[in-house]
Symmetry: D3
Subunit: 182 residues, 6 copies
Amino acid sequence: MALELTAGTLCAQNQAYFDKCLEKLGFVPNVLVCYAHDDAKLSAFAAFYNDLMLAPSGLSKLEREMIAVAVSSVNRCYYCLSAHGAAVRQLSGDPVLGELMAMNYRAAELSPRHRAMLDFAVKLTEAPHLIGDADRAGLRTVGFGERDVWDVAAVAAFFNMSNRMASAVDMRPNPQYHRQAR
Amino acid sequence: MALELTAGTLCAQNQAYFDKCLEKLGFVPNVLVCYAHDDAKLSAFAAFYNDLMLAPSGLSKLEREMIAVAVSSVNRCYYCLSAHGAAVRQLSGDPVLGELMAMNYRAAELSPRHRAMLDFAVKLTEAPHLIGDADRAGLRTVGFGERDVWDVAAVAAFFNMSNRMASAVDMRPNPQYHRQAR
Amino acid sequence: MALELTAGTLCAQNQAYFDKCLEKLGFVPNVLVCYAHDDAKLSAFAAFYNDLMLAPSGLSKLEREMIAVAVSSVNRCYYCLSAHGAAVRQLSGDPVLGELMAMNYRAAELSPRHRAMLDFAVKLTEAPHLIGDADRAGLRTVGFGERDVWDVAAVAAFFNMSNRMASAVDMRPNPQYHRQAR
Amino acid sequence: MALELTAGTLCAQNQAYFDKCLEKLGFVPNVLVCYAHDDAKLSAFAAFYNDLMLAPSGLSKLEREMIAVAVSSVNRCYYCLSAHGAAVRQLSGDPVLGELMAMNYRAAELSPRHRAMLDFAVKLTEAPHLIGDADRAGLRTVGFGERDVWDVAAVAAFFNMSNRMASAVDMRPNPQYHRQAR
Amino acid sequence: MALELTAGTLCAQNQAYFDKCLEKLGFVPNVLVCYAHDDAKLSAFAAFYNDLMLAPSGLSKLEREMIAVAVSSVNRCYYCLSAHGAAVRQLSGDPVLGELMAMNYRAAELSPRHRAMLDFAVKLTEAPHLIGDADRAGLRTVGFGERDVWDVAAVAAFFNMSNRMASAVDMRPNPQYHRQAR
Amino acid sequence: MALELTAGTLCAQNQAYFDKCLEKLGFVPNVLVCYAHDDAKLSAFAAFYNDLMLAPSGLSKLEREMIAVAVSSVNRCYYCLSAHGAAVRQLSGDPVLGELMAMNYRAAELSPRHRAMLDFAVKLTEAPHLIGDADRAGLRTVGFGERDVWDVAAVAAFFNMSNRMASAVDMRPNPQYHRQAR
């Protein structure tokens, strides 16, 4: 049985956030609905997530979503592959790129920048204890600055958390994701 | 070379947080110093972390720290094993318990509640795609409620993020941790 | 560089097969184009494949395609996930089922028959040396007969070959698959 | 309990094949007896297998058998290690080579060609999703042509199928293999 | 290049041991020749080994050799599989049993005692940190006493050492082993 | 239930050894108490161990203890991490070094000699079948002689045995280790 927690009362800010989701996407992403059982946790999660994925960064929004999907593929997370696969398709305008990130990013024809970025993210996912100077140097070589390396790591690390929350409570992706931007 | 990012100017709230750390611990944990290169990220991280580890929960603070260390042991995270190993020793008053969590929690004589809690956290760490109804049921059987299951998962998932950030940027634990509560 | 082999002259039977593909699908699946560098190998492959996936069996065609995709997911085969993911969507009329097989079949709500079938196929993929009497008994318990067990194994085993051929020569799925039956 | 399927009536061609086995080997290999529960499947398997292992190729028959055994060693397939281990001993006239392929090919003193061939086959077996341009280039460097690369891959891929069929149905090697060419 | 160490002068006891090997086996096992670069190490190794494999025990000599080979199969140790595979063939008078231990002990038809013994030895080899009360209980259930459990563990543990020494220095089995007791 | 074996009567030499432990350490290490159920096994173990860890060698005693702890970390052996972690702290006068060896030696700032030594020991632990000429050459490059390579291998191999004995019988470290040299 999936985890059964019912949404509580939302504070004004979170209610406004949900309204904005409904208006812009037509639905509230289920991950937010899941966190809504505890208004404080929802606030903390949304703030963390929005800074990570939407704030200014040397990584484009598409690059951050590519990392999200490649990491979620390692962890075989149904929720995140559905939701962020849709985001890659949408932001890139290239539906096949979304498939490639979800199936095996190594089969994609990627720029050296993107290949290094995803190699780092996937190694950090599979064997964080093996990450060392050579891995950071690999990112610098293709042009990532110190702050960019942080951001690659931060997105990859975050989805290692989020994939596990989704699996732990059996989160179900909103059905709308599946058909988006095909 | 470890990631080189210098702390920026802190907002009043974060400055107050650092001052409180200094006052209570005698030092600012290096994880916070690392996030301080970007004040907004520090705020988001601190809010998320403090809700997770300090807010009221069906899990005691010690239990949350035990999960933190057992997860960090799987990921072989030097920073988190040092910092949270110290927390387990301190909160439990049992230095050996801290060692056991860091080395192999299965060698500890644990209550069925704690064994189930750590088995879930470690399986979620090692193979999140295999977590299913039987695993959630295992937690319910030893008395965890729906919200408690969320909290076990949330702490385990968080340290899968935090371990990876620490490894990615080569975070070094404050030297004070090593001698604490031996 | 992907493997570079050019199609040779086809015998009448294989030419007719390609013509039929064009007529029915609008394209010749690239796996067949790849084998066409050697007419005899194409004949052997096509005969083997068509018997496996299309001949009468206690397994429906959809069930055989579900196994194909679940196995290809373990092996992260871009070609087979694309082509057979489309087949699952088409045969089931359920686009989400195709996604689930490709991402993590354990997240799908499956009948006991289908869960046992895929558990067997995936264990045979990941750890063939561990398959034993208990695994075969698990299939019998949910109603599979001796011949059905053979067919589950044969489809799972075949895609362990086919996934590896596709990866070895860098086979690219026909672009038509991506949009089919969404 | 092993899979229980009884041989059906054979078509003239398959009957002739069995007769030829009896005449040349003194026995019908049990893998063929297993497939004989369905005459069409036996035909397809025999055609595929004979093209793969006996047709003209840039790889010698011994090289194909060496790949068969090294792959079967990874998959710990009792049937294939017994049958194809005997083939390596026989074709090479070097009993120790058969042992080395079955135990750990890395302990053998191999030519660069053979080492590269087996490294490719074993990587394709263990981690097909990681095979890329560098692996194909490794084969080309030691002299394999495009078609030879296909053949290395095809033999390795085939035994990933055949090993799994043997384990799935608990195929038992004919006792004659054990003493052959010692 | 394999490790190059030349045998030193042997003490009388070790010289006598070598002479006895020559007399009884027709050769000195290469593992002993390897240790002979340091007479004290040879003495310690020989004493440890002979107590383990030859002293009175609730395990027969054949059972101890079966464990040796099953463990060496996990570790893919060419030296130990050759030498101890020969011992299993010889002590059992059943050449096929030697093959099965080296290839995949799960494919053998074993008594519950032997299956439990090898399951324990192989789990201890692959994942020593997971061994717990249930594993020890599994041995007791099929009749092993406390001292017998020690001996199962001791033999399995020893070959985890010996396999690694052989691989580390590239030990080559004496050619005589290959043909023994076929 | 841990293994229950009671110490038997000790020979004079072993009794003297225990007395010396008591005098020098204040306790008899539990590993010796465990072996004392069989006086001959205790003698063989002690002789082997003392030659390995205390005899003259190109490796210092601290280096041998560092290998012991890094290997025990891979195998997650509670007994050996406790006992030999204390030894590293004591011999180095650097408590943090002991922590690093137990948690993740890659996070330590090591000389090229020590990094190569531990990389070899850990690879030999995790994948002995992959050790080859390049690995031995790596040790030679940083200055290890042939005999030193043997000693690195011998210590790493030994703890692969000892870790497994400790886990198999549920050995408990003497409580004194935990506080030593902090």
